[in-house]
Structures are given as C-alpha cells and as structure tokens.
Amino acid sequence: MKKLIKVMFLLVLLAMTFSLASCGGSGKPTLKVFNWADYIDESVYKAFEKEYGIRVIYDTFTTNEDMYAKVVSGNADYDVLFPSDYMIKRLINEDRLAKLDFSNIPNYKYIDEKFKDLDFDPNNEYSVPYMWGTLGILYNKEMVDEPVTSWDILWDAKYSKNIFMYASQRDAIGVALKRLGYSLNSRNEAELEQAKQSLIEQKPLVLAYVGDDVKDKMVAEEAALAVVYSGDAIYSMWENENLAYVVPEEGTNLWFDSMVVPKNSKHKKEAELFINWLCDPENALKNTLYIGYSTPNSAAYDMLPDEVKNDKSAYPDDDILEKCEVFDDVSDVLDIYNRIWDEIMTAN
C-alpha cells in the first residue's frame, strides 16, 4: 500500500513537472485543446501546427461532468473545449464562455443551416457544432425480423426479456415521452406521469437497465434490442454486422458536441483559427470518416462516400430530424423527474 502511494506520488510529481515544462516552452504560441478521447483525426491538428506554427497541446476527457470539473477548478487554461449541448448551456449560464468573433471563422458558412441557432446557443454567439448524433434503437437483424420503425417495439411482448434499456433517467423517460408524442423536455406533470406509467408497464419486458456496457452486450448478442446513442451504435455495428441502428419515426434526442472558447483563454485568436481549421471541409471530412459520427459540415457531407451519405442511421431524413429535440436544462422540475424514476426503478 505504502509503495503504491509512493508510486502514485511520483507519477503526480512527474505529471506536474511536465505540465510546468509545457507552460514555459518555446517562443511558439501554444493552444490548449480539451476534447473527448479518440475524437479527432490526429493528422488534422498536426497539419494545423505546421500550417500556422502554433503548438497544440491536446488533452482528452471522457464525460461532460469530468470536463466541467477540470475547467471550473481554475487550474486549467484551455483555449478550445468540445462540450455537449446541455453542458454548453450551463457554461453560458454561468458566464464561463467567450463570445466568438465569427469574422475569424469564415468556414462557419459550411455549417448546415439546420445546425445553427440551436436552443443551447440561440443567437449563435458561443459555439460551433463539431459532431452530432441521435438516440435510437440498436437491434439484431437475426433476432428481429420485422422492420424497426417506432419506439413501440420496445413495448412489444414478443421481445420480453430481450430488451436493454438505458439506465439513465433523462434518456429513458425521454424515450417514453417521445413514444407518447410529448416533448423530450416536458415540464408537464401529467405527461411525465403518463411516461412513468408506460415505463412501469415496460419493466417486465426489460432484460436489464444498463450503461456504457450495452455496446459489448449487444455485440455479444445478449439481447435483440437496445436503446443506445448513435456513436455507440456505430461502434457496435463495426464489431458485429448483424446489428443495425434506427432512429424511430416519433423522433428522439438530438445531441451536439460543439467547439467553444472559455472566457479565460489567453489565445482566443488562435482558438478561433483552430475552430476555423476544423470547419474546413477537407478537415471536417477527415474527422468524420475517422470518428464515424455525423458531421454538421454541409460541404464535408457532400464529399462523403455515398454509402455513408445514405446511411439513415448516421444521417436520418429531415422529417425525422424535425421531430427530434435537443436536451434542455430541466433543473426546475428535476424533483419530478427524480421521483418518477424512483417509482419506476422500485416498481415490481
């Protein structure tokens, strides 16, 4: 135990020395980027370094909350962040983001109109979308022979004990709300009550409520149907070709990971240059092909190979997208959400 502590201590010390060293550094301007793990084609930012002579320090995080904690702690001095929609709203509300100067980001014109003026940044002042995706149904074509089009299939007794639900309050309740034709961000107690009833009805059919491990379970063919995010679905489909992903026709949750600049950034100009670089169609194309997520960049989309472009799981039709909603902050009615989730989870 003591040895372990010693080793840990040394590691921390080492990490601190390195980070200090990086603060000093050469005369080159540096840019600190904080992105999701495995969420960029590395050649893209390497080329940026070469093109502009700016050194990029690239760090990664695994959850929005994780990123938030580090950024808020005050020790971090990142220049570009990649948070998701609701987290951007929170950062804006807490006045932690800088307004972008879009004259420095001419490539913003390539961002598809339908991904501008989103609810979390209504006047498009703070954020530029990087990737987007949906919540949907991942299913095994060998086990499900009918076409999957609606959330209703998750309530079909035929698939009893063959369904994985997402063990996340917002997502599970959101699925039920959408199925009933209500808003994903409902604040109406009667609607939420109905969603609760339908999730309690569904409970006997559910094999398990799972988290991130759903990917591996679906790849191992443990169940026929699962509620997953499109990113996880793409990973699972790479691993097992019997799997398919569909965005239900009732609509779903639409999510965005966007690029923002924190207020305390000392390299705002360089940060905007970097954002502009990532919006360049060639670079956006490289990234979307590498990551596999959907790009909001219309010029990059046009250059995609046809089989990706026509893949409805990554790029659902506009009429479905119109029914999709981005998560809104529902802190004011969180008590109701918490209570109904408790009731669902304790129901027999």
């Binding site: 309050q169 409970k203 559910v206 408790d342 304790t346």
Partner: protein, 288 residues
C-alpha cells in the same frame, strides 16, 4: 500493558477524523435542509420522505435478499467450517486457503466475472453447447443440456451475495470451533452420547458465538450492497444501497441520502444489539 496505551492514540485520532466526524456529518445532513436563501434549518422531512410505500418496499426487499443470502451462507458454511476444524483432517490448510483466496481478488472483478459466466452466450452456456456438440460428433448421441438463464434476476443477486460473502461466514465459525476444548467432546462421548447428541448438546451450542458473528458479517454487507444488485440484477431490483448511492451521486439529495443511511445504521445496530444480548446470555466470545 498500561505503559503502551499511547500506542492507541494514532488509531484514536484516525477514528475521530474518519469515522466519528463523517458520522456526525451524515447525522447533520439527515436532519437539516437548505432553504432557498441558502441557510440551514432543522427538519425531519428527510425521514418523513422515507415513509412512502415505494421506499419501504426497497428496504423490505433489501432485508429479505440479505436474509436469504445469510441463511444460504450459514447452511453452506457451517458444515464446511466444522470439517475444516476437524482434527483428523490433513489437508485442512489447503482448504482454508481455498476459502480465503477469492477474497484476495478484487470484489468488482469477481462480480463481473459472474456476469461473463451467466450470460446467455456466457461461459457456462457455451461449455454446455460444446458438450452437446462433442456428444453428437463422437458418441453419436443427442444430448440436451439445460441452459443457465438467471442473469438479471433476484437469484443472480443472491448468488452474487453468497459467493462474495461466504468466507465471512466460514472463518468466524471455523475460528471458534477449532478452539473448542476437545476434552468436552471426549467427555460427552465417554458419557455415552452418540455423534448426534454430542453435536446437538456440545458442539453446536459452543459454536454459536462464531455463528452469530458470521451472520452479522454476512448480513451487514449483504443488506448494504449496491454493486451486486446493479451488475447481476441489471438495476431492476433497487436495494437500499442503490437508493443511497443515487441520492448522493445523481439526485444530489444529500439530506435524504443521509437519512436513509441513518435508518440503515439503526437497523444494523438494532440487529447487532439483539445478537449481542443473545450472545451474552449464552456466554459468548467469537469475533467481537
């Protein structure tokens, strides 16, 4: 011994900082609430909130599952402890080791491996499938073996508890029984008692302190667990441990979470008090 009393000071300090203070904090959170303007007020709301059928049913389910696992552990562990303590048993140390070794491995890892074993396409079912295929090709016979299908059920949760906590039942019983005065057993035999009578009148009553500490040591972690029910129960069987975890990590309702912890603490204290009274009446020893 008196001059070594200062050796206990480090532990006393440790206990103050890491046990007493946190407990007081939990108590504090459980009886206070934040008003909108940020000040704290005394309240019993958090405890009142617990008196709702859904939360009571969570508590009842937790206690029931813990009782089942404790009983199974006792039924499985008691004979094993007796055999281990038997004098004429040569490979005793190996068996004791076998009972202890699982505890050297990470608890989470062991629980995850049960998932891999029990899954629909998991190790056990794959093994059965292979046997069937081997029988078909080499013996030319149609073999149909049953398939395990208990993952994400209450049985899987109980299995996980029994597997993880069985050593806590075996070891206290073993340590008490192995220290039994052999001459008492010999005396009973000399007086004409057959094996059953010797067990019923001498060995079992004398082993009770071990049994009682075994029960406490299995029941306590079983009633508070939240990992086993989430992994092996597929989060469908909310136990009191899950409910507490949720209040702290998700809902952010520290008051209710603390109140639940206090209720659980009282429950455990109560059952321990009950046991220790019983133990005193019977002249106990055991682990406590």
């Amino acid at each position: 011994m008196k001059q070594y009393r200062w050796l206990a000071y480090p532990y006393a300090v440790w206990m103050m900082i890491f046990i007493v203070v946190p407990l007081l904090l939990v108590l504090f959170f459980s009886v206070t609430a934040k008003t909108p303007d940020g000040s704290m007020v005394l309240t019993l709301e958090n405890f009142k909130k617990f008196w709702e059928p859904m939360y009571i049913s969570v508590l009842i389910r937790s206690v029931l599952l813990a009782v089942y696992s404790t009983v199974i552990c006792l039924v499985l562990g008691y004979p094993l402890a007796l055999i281990l303590a038997g004098k004429d048993f040569k490979r005793k140390n190996v068996l004791v080791m076998l009972a202890v070794i699982p505890m050297w491995m990470n608890f989470l890892l062991r629980t995850y491996s049960w998932m891999t074993l029990l899954e629909k396409n998991g190790t056990i079912n794959a093994f059965f499938g292979t046997l069937e295929r081997l029988a078909a090709t080499y013996l030319n016979m149609e073999l149909t073996l049953p398939r395990v299908n208990i993952l994400y059920t209450e049985s899987a949760v109980i299995l996980g508890m029994v597997y993880n906590f069985l050593p806590f039942m075996i070891l206290p019983i073993y340590s008490v029984v192995s220290k039994l005065d052999r001459s008492l057993i010999e005396a009973a035999q000399d007086l004409g008692g057959n094996n059953l009578v010797v067990f019923k009148r001498v060995i079992f009553p004398l082993s009770l302190p071990g049994v009682l500490s075994g029960i406490t040591m299995v029941f306590m972690p079983a009633v508070t667990t939240f990992v086993i029910s989430r992994l092996l129960g597929g989060a469908q069987f909310m136990l009191i441990g899950n409910l507490i975890e949720r209040q702290f990590l998700f809902s952010g309702d520290w008051g209710f979470g603390s109140a639940l912890s206090i209720i659980l603490l009282l429950l455990i204290l109560l059952s321990m008090g009950f046991m220790s009274r019983y133990e005193q009446e019977n002249g106990g020893g055991g682990l406590w």
